[in-house]
């Protein structure tokens, strides 16, 4: 009887303790893989269903960028994601500053050297508006 109770207690408490220690594993993995010379700033978790073709990527987030800082945008996809995550970076006037999808090729990383301090818009979606699950990580290059 005692043996069963110990096993049950272990099964009950170990997952509870473990669950308190980590956030989304995809975020952890992506952030820690963004390179030794970068410092994590922010994650943008993106999960979308199938979308209709439209001129703009569906998810918008804002993020401040500062002059003379180099930022790294790392894009990672969940193992079961059907679509591949892409992003665009636009300044507050809507002018395109960077895109991870160039001539049909999706890049997993953009290094952006900022020369103009301000609020920027990050747009995320999956190629061809497919359903998908991924994360965009912004880190600061040291």
């Amino acid at each position: 009887m005692k043996k069963y109770l110990i096993i049950t207690a272990l099964m009950l408490f170990v997952p509870m303790l473990m669950s308190g220690q980590s956030s989304d594993p995809l975020i952890q993995k992506c952030a820690l893989n963004s390179g030794p010379n970068s410092t994590f700033l922010k994650d943008f978790r993106v999960q979308l269903g199938k979308g209709n073709s439209q001129p703009e990527l569906r998810v918008r987030q804002v993020f401040p960028l500062s002059k003379n800082m180099t930022y790294k945008f790392t894009l990672c996809n969940a193992d079961n994601s059907q679509g591949k995550l892409i992003m665009k970076l636009k300044d507050s006037d809507g002018s395109l500053q960077a895109t991870s999808y160039v001539s049909g090729k999706a890049y997993p990383e953009i290094n952006f050297t900022c020369k103009k301090t301000g609020t920027y818009n990050l747009y995320f979606d999956f190629i061809d508006f497919l359903p998908g699950s991924g994360v965009g990580i912004v880190s600061l290059v040291k």
Binding site: I7, F40, E56, S66, L140
Partner: protein, 304 residues
Amino acid sequence: MPARLFIILLVGLFLFTACRNSSKKNSNFVFPDADSVPVSEAEKLSDEAIDDIARNMSSPVEIANLLQRMKVPFSAGLLATSIDASRLSTSFDKSLKLGILGADLGYLNMYEKTGSSVDVLSSIKKLADGVNVGQFFDFETLKRLSRSRSDLDSLLLISQDSYNKIDKYLRDKGRGQLSALMITGVWIEGQYLATQMIKQHPDTLLRNRVGEQKIILNDLLMLLAPYCNVNQQFSSLCQDMQDLKLKYRDIKITFTVGDPVTVEKDGALVVKQTEESRVEMTDEQLALIIVTTNNIRNKLISNN
């Protein structure tokens, strides 16, 4: 009989864990995700505009990064060590100081002063518990990482992530005033570190960074504005921040236009902006900003 009891417990346990983590474990996509705002909704909701402003605050590690690049040595004397988390009684004080200590934590971590950060972490934990957001602060893991000094990347990631989650949770739960206070605390402490350092290290990079805060300060005031008449503490804070805004009034930020230059390097895209922002700020204007920032910050941390 024991075997039967064991099976019952096992089934109960299965149901408990399955329900508890149902949203996380579900492999189907959830749309819309709370952290992902579709464009059409983001444009029309004023709450989303507030979210935008809240997210538009620079991380304190950026200031620390800048100081490191300038080879400015670490200065323990600048930390808000006088904050006694156990003496604070109002949510206002707790949230504001949560932000101030968060900026200090970023500063300590970036300079790898991880041993010293354990004390700051203990205070942060008390404050976070005090405003019922302690569940987002993985104190034990952070303390272990700080003590071991082995995994700085994980330490920075979890620290930053904890603050991001607290901020998001507070805003999602309609406690935006506490989020605004936390963000204000982070900002004022980062501004304090930068303006104190500039006195000994009058570097152009740092000077420009202080000048550019004119943009951020305007946003911060918009974030605080809905709460300025909530109580005397808010009213006083808003007044102080307005005073600082006044010191920034005649600083000019101009822009030159240009197209970004993109190249491919080692499988990644490397983009450099040619468009540029410039700050025009006199020594007198800077001196007034330094003094005003110092007064506000010291008033906030002495008000225990």
